[in-house]
């Protein structure tokens, strides 16, 4: 009877270890804090109507960013715990974590950073920027977009659910290698959480990718031929094409893992004719393209930033496009380089080594193209450009170590070592994360209408770079010393401890960098009146269409859909003079909560799959189908915004903006410093308590 009701859940599944109690408590406290603030400020309705149910890709983009940043802190905490363990656990000392707990932490770290941080940032950017860049008011399917976003949130819920129910996450490494992830070697619920977390967020990614491909292919402004698209849009298109190709493969593989674990099939088991090597192949056929799904939009960002900040068109637009397409095609044929050491013959290894070496060509072309773009330009060094210059150095190190790993005989030595870990962190932090930081400092004025605090931004950059060197240069050396990855303990005689301690210190320095990024946003909001963008939405003298809109753009993006005649569409418009708009009626999609409902049921279903609660599985799936059907009969999903109303809105905005256009000191030298921010916050807190402001909330 109990099993019918709650499946495999028992009293022991509830939090009882220090970390599950701490985790559950912090979720509860966070929830209570948010609820209190929302209730006191009477913003529940605002949250639901203006944000959660919104189908506006700009708002969804910002929600992706917020979720991604939260997960960055969560994954970052994991790193600090891991590195502290490694710094302590030498010789007779065994650190403060058990082996299993340590393994769960690095598994969660990998999953969170790739799926819920990097992917979140990339999807957030694409959501916000791509429609603006191609001159669209909306996405091809707004519903699919909110559904994709909420499934992604469901994935986040599932990856953290083990804190509350079960108390263990997968201890298998981020890809849950078979047969280790099978029931025989990992009997607990941890791997099931892994499966279902990636399952629902993976479906969300597939939906999002289909949607963006349709949007980019079908909804571009008139005149914008494919070869007139901005490079960020090109990077996003290549990335989404790859995502559509490989994410269904992930979903299918996850189903097979689930069948093995729950139904006793033998796809990847050691016994019963299963083939773990098949799993290794399948997961990397998805896993390798996945990293390029992340990096291609970042390449697009850098192309935009270098061109804008050098005040020149990209040196060779076609090379950049061909380079990105080349990377995305080649990326599908290199997966075996992740396991040269599994024992394939020399011909197979050499072929995949060759393909991997070839992929370095289009990547190098992109870098050379940026150099050529800066050549004879007039370069400004605001923070976006700093992130770019930092990216190139770190990415070069990552690229060099990457080609080393692509040579099979060399890989036999470097594989699974900390050298490998340092390599992919160089590419993912240097490439993807710095790309995202570059992008957000570049587009922040577009998101908010005021620019970021430049001073604290620079400080954050230098802390990130210094912390990166302090952590990852020792990590490369540890790899050369024969330290394999994922060690929770090592002999004192190895002499590795000082290097691990350096890594931990580097982690703290990076943490300061992250704290400064938070401080930067805070300081920018505090000073937002002074930092106001007085350039009518074009603070960098931009080249692409997103800069032609107001900041932040109206919810319909463009009052009039622009006609495009060249690659740098806005640049040539500015040259030839802007036309006075003629207003027309606009059709916009209505907000909908369907995405939230479906994702909620999908999360219930996932939870029920993890714990074998049959009634809940059935009920949730029926609920999903019913929601779809009801939505299918709902023909009232759009509305028309009359031209007159748009004119009113635009005039009101213009009026509001002109009021701000006077006497604003926009000089970065007057930006608040970190110390001034601390002093301000201190004063604010004192004032808050003394004057009993809290009573008035």
């Amino acid at each position: 009877m109990k099993e019918l009701l709650v499946g495999k859940l028992t009293w022991e599944s509830l939090p009882h270890q220090w970390w599950t109690i701490a985790g559950t408590l912090s979720f509860v406290l966070l929830g209570v804090a948010v609820a209190v603030v929302l209730t006191y400020t009477k913003r529940w309705k605002w949250l639901w109507n203006d944000w959660l149910t919104s189908v506006d890709p700009k708002k969804i983009g910002i929600m992706y960013f917020i979720a991604g940043f939260g997960m960055l802190l969560r994954g970052g905490l994991d790193v600090l715990m891991m590195w502290l363990q490694q710094a302590l656990s030498s010789g007779n000392s065994h650190g403060f974590l058990t082996a299993e707990h340590y393994q769960e932490i690095f598994t969660a770290h990998g999953n969170i950073m790739v799926f819920f941080v990097a992917m979140a940032f990339i999807f957030g950017l694409i959501n916000y920027i791509v429609p603006l860049q191609i001159g669209a008011r909306d996405l091809a399917s707004p519903l699919m977009n909110t559904l994709g976003f909420w499934l992604f949130i469901g994935g986040i819920v599932m990856v953290n659910m083990f804190f509350v129910f079960g108390g263990e996450y997968a201890a298998t490494g981020w890809l849950a290698v078979a047969p280790l992830s099978g029931k025989e070697f990992s009997p607990g619920a941890g791997v099931d959480y892994w499966v279902w977390s990636l399952m629902i967020s993976g479906v969300g990614t597939t939906l999002g990718a289909i949607n963006f491909i349709m949007t980019i292919l079908k909804m571009r402004a008139p005149g914008m031929k494919l070869l007139k698209m901005p490079l960020f849009t090109w990077g996003s298109l290549c990335s989404m094409m790859m995502a559509v190709t490989v994410f269904p493969l992930l979903t299918a593989t996850l189903f097979l893992v689930y069948f093995d674990r729950a139904l006793g099939t033998h796809f990847f088991t050691t016994t019963g004719g299963g083939d773990p090597m098949m799993y290794t192949n399948l997961i990397w056929m998805w896993g390798h393209p996945e990293v390029y799904v992340l990096i291609l939009p970042a390449f697009g960002v850098f192309s935009e930033v270098v061109s804008t900040f050098s005040r020149k068109p990209i040196a060779s637009y076609k090379s950049a496009v061909v380079g990105m397409i080349g990377v995305s095609v080649l990326a599908l044929s290199v997966w075996l380089h992740h396991f040269f050491t599994m024992g394939a013959g020399a011909n197979v290894n050499a072929f995949f080594g060759l393909m991997t070496t070839i992929i370095a060509v289009p990547t190098s072309v992109l870098v050379f193209n940026w150099i050529a773009t800066m050549y004879k330009g007039k370069i400004r060094f605001e923070t976006p450009m700093l992130w770019f210059l930092g990216f190139v150095a770190i990415f070069a190190i990552g690229g060099i170590s990457g080609v080393m790993l692509a040579i099979p005989p060399v890989d036999f030595q470097l594989h699974n070592s900390l050298f490998l870990v340092a390599h992919f962190h160089s590419t993912v932090i240097g490439g993807v994360l710095f790309g995202v930081f570059c992008a957000y400092s570049y587009w922040f004025p577009k998101f908010t209408g005021f620019r970021l605090n430049e001073r604290i931004g620079r400080a954050a950059f230098w802390f990130w770079i210094a912390g990166f060197c302090l952590s990852f240069i020792p990590m490369y050396i540890l790899g050369l010393m024969g330290a394999s990855r994922r060690l929770d303990h090592y002999d004192a005689s190895t002499g590795w401890q000082p290097l691990f301690i350096l890594m931990f210190i580097g982690g703290l320095v990076i943490a300061v960098g992250v704290a400064l990024q938070v401080a930067q946003i805070l300081a920018s909001f505090i000073e937002k009146k002074r930092l106001l963008d007085t350039t009518n939405g074009d603070p960098w003298n931009g080249r692409t269409l997103e800069w032609s809109t107001q900041s932040p753009p109206a919810f319909y993006n463009f009052t009039v859909i622009p006609h495009v005649s060249s690659v740098d569409a806005f640049w040539s418009m500015k040259k030839h003079g802007l036309k006075k708009p003629v207003y027309e009626d606009i059709h916009m999609p209505k907000n909908t909560a369907v995405g939230i409902y479906i994702s909620l049921f999908a999360t219930f279903a996932s939870f029920a799959f993890v714990w074998d609660i049959v009634w809940l599985i059935v009920a949730s799936i029926i609920a999903i189908i019913v929601t779809f059907v009801i939505r299918g009969f709902n023909e009232d999903s759009e509305y028309t915004l009359p031209a007159q109303k748009i004119q009113q809105l635009e005039e009101a905005r213009a009026h509001k903006n002109s009021a701000h256009h006077t006497a604003i000191n926009n000089d970065p030298h007057h930006d608040m410093s970190t110390w001034e921010l601390v002093a301000y916050l201190y004063k604010f807190a004192i004032d808050f308590v003394k004057n009993k402001k809290w009573r008035r909330i």
Binding site: S310, I407, P409, Q413
Partner: protein, 300 residues
């Protein structure tokens, strides 16, 4: 304008500070690793040596393209900065020859690397036996949860978490696994790693050329006890090796079905065990155990 120059002055100081930081970090690291076993840069075997030289070659080629590219990038960025009075803006587009160059240069270097990589991959294929005047030694390896079992079929002895190898003698490791997830066999001082898997035999050929004790491990995660799954590879002279074999064959321990069953039970950080004899059918039966289950299963 004056303010912008001042800004540049500040950036210069930050750069100087950062470069000083990098230099002192390098010095510190250099000091910290001195006298330590940097396994990949201190090869002690025939294969490790060749992998090491190949790695150096690849790094050299990559640095030949990478360093000038980076230096050019930073010089261009500096030279064409806005505050440089010499900077004149031009809507310059890349010439055809420049575009050709940015494609040809990396292509050329990658061809050089590929041309070296292809034959090297064949030459250093792990399954390829090493030519030598000395008679090769075969060691059968079974990875267990979480320890290494080594069988010396010609010598009739077996060991756990320890191997002794005669110097300058080719050694062929025939590797499989039993009741353990995929593991990897790696002695970094002697050469690269290879996975061990149930129902498969992977062959890894190595040859040591310096006497000494070298650490071995599984860098592939295979469960809770993975960190402690370590062994020592002792390289000795022929005479010492023979003496060790003789001594080992006088051990009290015998690896029969019962003691193997004990070994199959999961254990962490296992001590070294030496066996004077082992069941000759053991290795084949471990492989057949999984092959059989596949056929057995299809009959269900």
């Amino acid at each position: 304008m004056a303010k912008k120059n001042k800004n540049w002055l500040r950036l210069r100081w930050v750069l100087v500070l950062f470069l000083t930081f990098l230099a002192s970090l390098s010095l510190l690291l250099f000091y910290l690793v001195q006298g330590k076993n940097i396994a990949l840069l201190h090869p002690r075997g025939y294969i490790a040596h060749q992998q090491y030289s190949l790695m150096l070659f690849v790094v050299a080629i990559l640095l030949i393209i990478g360093i000038p590219a980076l230096v050019t990038l930073y010089i261009v960025a500096w030279r064409y900065r806005e505050s440089n009075p010499k900077t004149v803006m031009s809507e310059h587009k890349a010439s055809k020859s420049l575009v050709a160059t940015i494609w040809i240069v990396p292509t050329f270097f990658m061809i050089v690397i590929s041309v070296v990589m292809w034959p090297a991959t064949h030459k250093l294929a792990p399954q390829k036996s090493i030519a030598s005047e000395n008679k090769p030694l075969t060691i059968q390896v079974i990875s267990l949860r979480w320890k290494w079992l080594f069988l010396y079929p010609e010598q009739g002895i077996a060991t756990v978490n320890f191997i002794q190898l005669p110097i300058n003698t080719p050694v062929e490791f025939e590797m499989t696994a039993d009741e353990v997830p995929m593991s990897s066999f790696w002695i970094p001082n002697l050469g690269g790693q290879l996975y061990t898997m149930t129902s498969h035999v992977n062959r890894l050929n190595l040859m040591a050329n310096t006497i000494g004790d070298y650490p071995g491990s599984t860098p592939e995660i295979n469960g809770a006890g993975f960190t402690g799954m370590k062994f020592t590879a002792r390289v000795s002279s022929d005479a010492d090796f023979n003496q060790w074999v003789k001594k080992t064959s006088q051990s009290q321990n015998i690896l029969d079905q019962n003691s193997y069953k004990e070994l199959l039970k999961p254990s962490e950080a296992n001590p070294v065990v030496l066996y004077s004899d082992f069941d000759g059918t053991l290795y084949d039966s471990v492989i057949m155990k999984y092959a059989g289950s596949a056929e057995g299963h299809s009959g269900h």
